[in-house]
Amino acid sequence: MEDLAHNQTPPTTSGIALHDLACDRGGRRVFTGVQADLSPGDALVVRGTNGSGKSSLLRVLAGYIPAGDGSITWNGINVRDDIGLYQSCLHYVGHLDGVKPVLSVRENIALWSLLMGDPMDVDAALAHFGLRKLADLPAKYLSAGQKRRLNLARLGASRRPLWLLDEPAVSLDAQSVAQLESLIADHRRAGGIAIVATHNDLNIEDATLLSLGKQGFESQERES
């Protein structure tokens, strides 16, 4: 209740708040009643079984799928009022890597850095995931794990306060997982927010945990 009262004073609120968020896919309610309130520096870890709606939740949060019910508030403004502004504040990393095989590793990241605005040091972003030595290699020669790292390097190539990561650790080796964890930690220290859906035990300190499916949404749907 304190948080709600706090949210109603407009200029001071920053961060993202989800109110009773629900999502329908193919005429079926995937999840409902999702609540969260994240301030700069916070992280939310979304867990749940297959089909519990982790990916759907992240796609709703990225603005790709309209929410079935409830609302998302970003910096005190309902995102439905200015979806373009909200979408230009976030990074989304999904299951697909968005890597162009005919471009080199550096070109791939440099392009995203230019296209997404507010560019940062491309070489530093590559170096963080150990891709510096591969920078001039056409991306078609990368392994699945390397492509994933290249896609994640995008996070460090343009500055955006909200990160939505859908199973970011899939096909990463232990060292790369540690690099991803440190990237998320740095992002939060700089006042960023991270929302991460994961099965793996990605170590994110002081993260709020959101369990989908366990609250009975899935079983309710199965009975009806």
Binding site: Y64, I65, G84, L90, Y92, G98, L103, L115, M116
Partner: protein, 221 residues
């Protein structure tokens, strides 16, 4: 505006690296047109009378050939998810991608067109009008095509459906394009057909990106 030009440059770079797309379109255009002298015989009078129409139809089909990949590559590899988050409205990104598509696949057709006009025994006086009418009219082909490409982006074999959706809408372009050329060949003033062609291109430039952007948003759901 920066994002717009970066995206145009990116798509041109991708088309150049992948190489084949521009070349294949031109090759199809040349081969399709050069079939007609074999089919109807080498009589220059017959060829000249049907030449304008055949060149326009072949250009239209060559454009269609590459359209289904306009958004599909970015959709399949997940780039479209990220592009939507760029600090530009999706309409501007559609415009940028369509412009890049026109520059890489349709512009080479226009450059190859005079060669085909010679195949079809068109009078040399019509060459200028052929290129001008294509320059004015083909943007409409790309923009209308972008709507179809966006609507069929999630489909495995969307190409055929794309043709069915788009070809009927190409008819006005065909009529005015061939009309302008026919008038020039008869020594008449083709500017009224040319202006209508231009109007059609401008209207599609304004409306089509809106439709294509809405269709892409649906595809991302």
């Amino acid at each position: 505006m920066n994002t717009f030009w970066h995206l145009v440059r990116r798509d041109i770079t991708l088309a150049r690296r992948q190489g084949a797309s521009s070349f294949l379109g031109v090759a199809f255009f040349v081969i399709a047109v050069s079939l007609f002298p074999f089919a109807v015989g080498p009589d220059p009078l017959i060829l000249a009378s049907i030449g304008a129409g055949i060149i326009w139809v072949a250009a239209l089909l060559a454009t269609l050939l590459s359209l289904d990949r306009l958004f599909q590559a970015d959709f399949e590899d997940g780039s479209l998810d990220t592009l939507v988050l760029a600090p530009q409205p999706l309409v501007a990104l559609v415009l940028a991608k369509t412009l890049a598509h026109w520059l890489t696949t349709t512009l080479p057709l226009i450059i190859a067109a005079p060669l085909l006009a010679m195949f079809m025994a068109l009078p040399a006086s019509a060459f200028t009008m052929l290129m001008v009418s294509m320059l004015v009219g083909t943007p409409a082909l790309s923009f209308i095509g972008a709507v179809g490409a966006a609507l069929t982006v999630g489909m495995r074999r969307g190409g055929v459906l794309l043709s069915l959706l788009i070809l009927p809408l190409y008819i006005p372009v065909l009529i005015f394009g061939v009309g302008a050329l026919g008038a020039a060949m008869l020594g008449q003033d083709g500017s009224s057909a040319l202006m209508l062609l231009g109007a059609f291109s401008l209207v599609s430039l304004v409306l089509a990106p809106l439709g294509a952007a809405a269709a892409l948003r649906l595809a991302l759901e």
